[in-house]
Symmetry: C2
Subunit: 705 residues, 2 copies
């Protein structure tokens, strides 16, 4: 095809004519800038309110800035790394924040830490295993002298002792009481012998075990003088800190590739008659004396207070990861254009489609709801911890135990409910970005893969929801018998009303009121708890054991916990709105109404079944949902701007603040030049191209010729 | 800690005592074997029925066997490979089936191909790009002489021409009409000039482009004599097949890491004034003569028949990938034990918990429903293709066009509905395996990552659902005006009844009848279509354009398409049950009832809102769902056994036929021995351990001293 110069010029001229519509399309940066022209509220005020105050916003900005500046935290090539490279980078990142861990207050470090997690969840977990599992177990379960011993060894900031947390076994997860690993006291040497008796007893999923840890807190069945005392915790040295050689009797392997969080080196551990000094057992509660006397604690439940912390932080994570996902999806939706009814007009922003608003904006409302709920539950948890720390021997522990139970039940259900919601939010955001959501570089795929484990670890979501359901049955029974129940479940006192309440609202305005919505959820959640309780009580009356009766109402119990969670979160959101500065109250009001009403719409069967709403009122609910979406759409970009995550934290070309989506994405991907020719060109490609698939040549001979 | 022999012996004796309960636990293999003792139906009969006949079951078994035997198809180390290794393995696997592609009938190869996909979805896609996108486009859009030309070049089985499919651009996905790439006819040289005018016009996501393809079918705006004719298809050579050097004007890069399907080398392509002979334009429909005369086809719609095929195959994929996921999750659930009310008894099988049954068994029913729907829609599609192929110039095309529309609308909605359902099924299965579901080696994480793209490609699910919703509005309007509508939507004729029908059933038995359930879905789907249509018509009456009116009812339109899909699939399932051999009819009957009733329960608001069921009847529905779960639970393992996927295809230690879950899983993971010490021991770990985080030494001096 020899080129013809004249025609070349003609054709180039033709190309200089823009493609259809493309001269009409505003630049991506202009599309996004336009969204910021008339926010209905002061963005900065909302940021302060979401963060819990101006000082925290400024602290967050400092943390983001410090990570971005640190060369160890290079993130733009993250998706191109191999598993070993990810692991090495992860530990380098951890090293870069250990100075802060050693020198900052725990409160400040935990806030810094949120950004460590938002930027690289694998790093967060690898550090978390040491800080919030291993070290927190020491703090919670060691005697003061034991804690001082481990602190002296360097357990706080990894300079001497790096810990992991050995609870789960290959065959045993949620049922901790059935763990198989044993810790047998040997009186002759004053040692415990830690042992893995079977394959299923192999410690499994142990984060940090494969590469990093020198010590572990191992959960094992304690045996003293032949008698079993249940599962206790022991510090077991794993490696020589100087050489990293495995210690005698310790066998460790790498769990290998996971769905996500590849930065953390999960491992498995088998102990074969590993001897540790008796005093390596953590003895704040149960104690074993030199002569093998076992002193059991009066209030074993207190040992489990520490577990709640992880769950509370996952409610916070659920809000924060959803903020990141929604920032990406909504900014992209304000830039991406598809279809135009009129070829003389630019294509329409995806965000202007009703269906896109309906998909993402209720999730945005839910994310604000989760954020405010998380702040309130954190407060509840901190109060509990303070009271537990301040308790002195001889104090009446009843109020603390009751507070512990309430916080435990609240945190369990919300951990499950919020992590499920967040995972769904991430996936909806990912899909809403179309094909680009499937690229690793746009960030939502890895967000999903990293986040998914939160639905399972530190309490499988289904089991946690069932636990909350069980507490609700207890509270309801307590309420029926006139007992005192916590404020968060006080609506259960009203379930036994003689007349089923019905919503009096006959127009959209009165449906869209906090009181109406809260009453609606109270009725529905109350009915759900009552239904579960009725089945439970019928079963016990028929002679079932408590466990059997709980099993008989499992479906209804889970359902009750879900309905309760909607109500609880809606209530927390309304409380936040009432405390908000006037300048941001209107937008928060819209978001709160959308949260409440959208979830009524999605659970319409509950509301119609309870007769709280009739079909006509339910239509009003739907109309209001559509209306609220259209109102909130105008502020969609200011709202995600208010989350205030820097481009470094967002780490997605689709979610950039400036909207320069396509160029940034192309530049990121452009670096992947395929090698030419590919390494398997001669060995596979050329043979494919030269192949002859015709049948082997037949012999034109007959045997008998 | 010097060992003391006597105490050692004592302690070892203690370890020989089994851990609590562990002598009571049956072996995993025994747990699974027990599930197979009394199936209520002949498993093999069900396999034949699910596969469409004994001959297909045997063919499938042969395909599985052939792949398993082929050394190129080594899969057990798949999750340990790097991206370049995965890419190389993928092409080696493709090479191993090209003989079959060249020599088998297309029907047979497509069946073989299903197993290629189930074992390695990345390989499937890489092959699919050539076979079902590139080559099918040639078959569908080339003239017979053009097709013969490309066949001679080796386009069928890659021996000469390896193709990719260049439709999507960086800035343009669903709206194909707005693609920016141009194909300008140069009359002086009888060539088209293919050109990428902007960054957003870069061809994007092009599977096979980065490493594999020598040619592409490029979709571009055709410009002849300065006039635009819309998007047409052109074969563009990309690389020299001998050297694999990029041809003049072609620039290609690698799209890099994705959420899944890493075996396929997606790339981007930019054309800079690339010249191709005019005859490389595919001219079955639109033709361009030597002198630049453009002959437009009378029935351009016919060109889109080929698109339907991909969607139909994704309905099938949705059934098949769900079968794989459920086989893993249910077999594991029959082995895994957690909690025991009585310490003298073994822990309970997870599958025996009501909540686990309620989570997985409705998905099992849905998978059978999808399987049978897929078989029926495939038949519909094959009939259409046959009629289109047999059509001769001058034939009345009206019935074919009507059939095309119906099949298009059905396939679009079901592709969306079923891929969403399957993705959810995979994730539910993954989470139901607890922590082990997060391991790459148990197979469900990668299943999710590989499958997720099906919700987006070849038609974004949301857009497809909206298209089906639009067709439903058309059909309903047609029905109202007394016109003829296809059987699959004939229920729309009954929407305008004077009395809203209500279910007469007052006991569980009559609720659990096919007729009752189908009528219920007809009422609900009919109402949903009516609601969408009412809004649509109100908008047009108020002066809205058709596009605006469709946008005004988008939420209701999507909803109508969902409700219609439930009804459609339930009906297809009942048809399959009625054709099933007597020996398997009872179990299929239970599954079909569970499918229908479970989804009524999950969409209770629709049924209560339409007043078809009242609250008391809805309670009967819930009771029946629980009852059916408990009945089907007994056959859960025989049912997944009937899917008849070999351990090689399942490729998960949790899903093994023999139930030897823990040993197999441990052996698989055990090969990941961490190197000792890790490569970054000296550079990172040792400095962490030796770090001193105290403040720098202060000078005990004052400036003014």
């Amino acid at each position: 095809m020899p080129p013809n110069t004249e025609s070349r010029i003609t054709s180039i001229k033709a190309h200089l004519q823009p493609a259809q519509n493309s001269d009409l399309q505003p630049r991506p940066t202009e599309s996004l800038a336009a969204e910021r022209k008339n926010p209905s509220f002061p963005i900065r005020e909302l940021t302060y309110f979401v963060d819990g105050g101006e000082e925290f916003t400024k602290m967050n900005e400092q943390f983001m800035f410090e990570l971005e500046r640190d060369p160890a935290w290079k993130m733009d090539d993250h998706h191109n790394l191999t598993l070993p490279e990810v692991r090495e980078r992860a530990l380098r990142k951890i090293k870069s924040v250990l100075y802060d861990l050693a020198n900052e207050s725990p409160e400040q470090f935990q806030r810094r830490y949120v950004f460590v997690g938002l930027v690289d969840p694998g790093v967060y977990t690898r550090l978390n295993v040491h800080v919030n599992l291993f070290y927190r177990t020491l703090v919670g379960q060691a005697t003061p002298a034991q804690l001082e011993f481990w602190n002296r060894k360097g357990a706080r900031a990894m300079n001497g002792v790096t810990g992991c947390f050995s609870m789960t076994e290959l065959g045993h997860g949620s049922n901790v009481a059935a763990l198989e690993t044993t810790a047998t006291y040997d009186e002759t040497t004053d040692e415990f012998i830690i042992h893995t008796p079977t394959v299923t007893a192999t410690k499994w999923w142990i984060g940090g075990a494969a590469h990093t840890a020198t010590h572990t807190t191992a959960y094992a069945q304690m045996v003293v003088k032949g008698k079993r005392y249940g599962v206790k915790v022991f510090v077991v040295p794993l490696r020589d800190p100087k050489t990293f050689d495995l210690l005698h009797g310790v066998n460790i392997g790498d769990i290998g590739k996971k769905m996500g969080r590849d930065g953390i080196d999960n491992g498995w551990i088998q102990f074969t008659n590993v001897r540790i000094p008796r005093q390596y057992m953590l003895m704040k509660y149960t104690q074993v004396t030199r002569t093998g006397e076992v002193i059991q604690p009066p209030l074993a439940q207190l040992a489990y207070g520490a577990l709640i912390g992880g769950r509370v932080s996952m409610i916070r994570d659920s809000a924060n990861f959803a903020k990141k996902a929604l920032t990406i999806a909504l900014r992209y939706a304000a830039v991406r254009r598809q279809f135009s009814a009129d070829p003389t007009q630019p294509e329409t922003k995806v965000l202007d489609y009703v269906i896109h608003q309906n998909r993402l904006l209720p999730l945005l409302a839910q994310t604000f709801a989760t954020n405010f709920t998380s702040m309130r539950v954190t407060k509840l948890y901190q109060d509990l911890m303070k009271r537990m720390e301040n308790a002195r021997p001889g104090d009446d522990m009843t109020p603390i135990i009751s507070m512990l139970k309430e916080t435990h039940s609240t945190a369990a259900g919300l951990k499950a409910f919020c992590t499920w919601n967040c995972l769904n939010t991430i996936e909806q955001c990912r899909q809403s970005c179309g094909g680009h959501g499937y690229s690793a570089y746009t960030g939502l795929a890895s967000l999903y893969q990293d986040f998914a484990v939160q639905c399972t670890w530190e309490g499988d979501n289904t089991i946690l929801m069932l636990q909350t359901g069980r507490s609700l049955i207890n509270y309801y029974q307590e309420a029926k018998s006139g007992g005192a129940i916590p404020a968060g479940v006080s609506y259960l006192k009203s379930v036994e009303r003689s007349n089923t309440p019905r919503c009096p609202a006959s127009d959209a305005a009165s449906i869209a009121e906090f009181e109406t919505i809260l009453e609606a959820w109270s009725v529905v959640a109350g009915n759900a708890v009552k239904t579960a309780t009725d089945i439970f009580e019928k079963s016990t009356s028929a002679g079932a054991s408590k466990d059997e009766a709980l099993e008989s109402c499992a479906v209804e119990r889970l359902h009750a916990a879900r309905m309760h969670s909607f109500r609880y979160i809606f209530q927390k959101f309304t409380e936040a709105v009432s405390e908000a500065p006037g300048s941001i109250r209107a937008i928060l009001n819209h978001l709160c109404l959308l949260y409440g009403l959208y979830n009524i719409q999605e659970n319409a069967g509950e509301f119609l079944g309870s007769k709280y709403f009739d079909a006509a009122q339910m239509r009003l609910v739907r109309e209001q949902v559509n209306h609220l979406c259209s109102v909130i759409r105008k502020d969609a970009i200011p709202l995600v701007d208010a989350f205030n995550y820097s481009d470094f934290v967002i780490n997605s070309p689709l979610g950039r603040y400036d909207g320069n989506v396509y160029e940034a994405y192309f530049n990121l991907v452009k670096s992947n030049n395929p090698s030419k020719p590919v390494p398997y060109f001669e060995s596979i490609i050329r043979p494919i191209h030269n192949a002859d698939y015709s049948a082997p040549e037949a012999l034109d001979l007959e045997i008998d010729e």
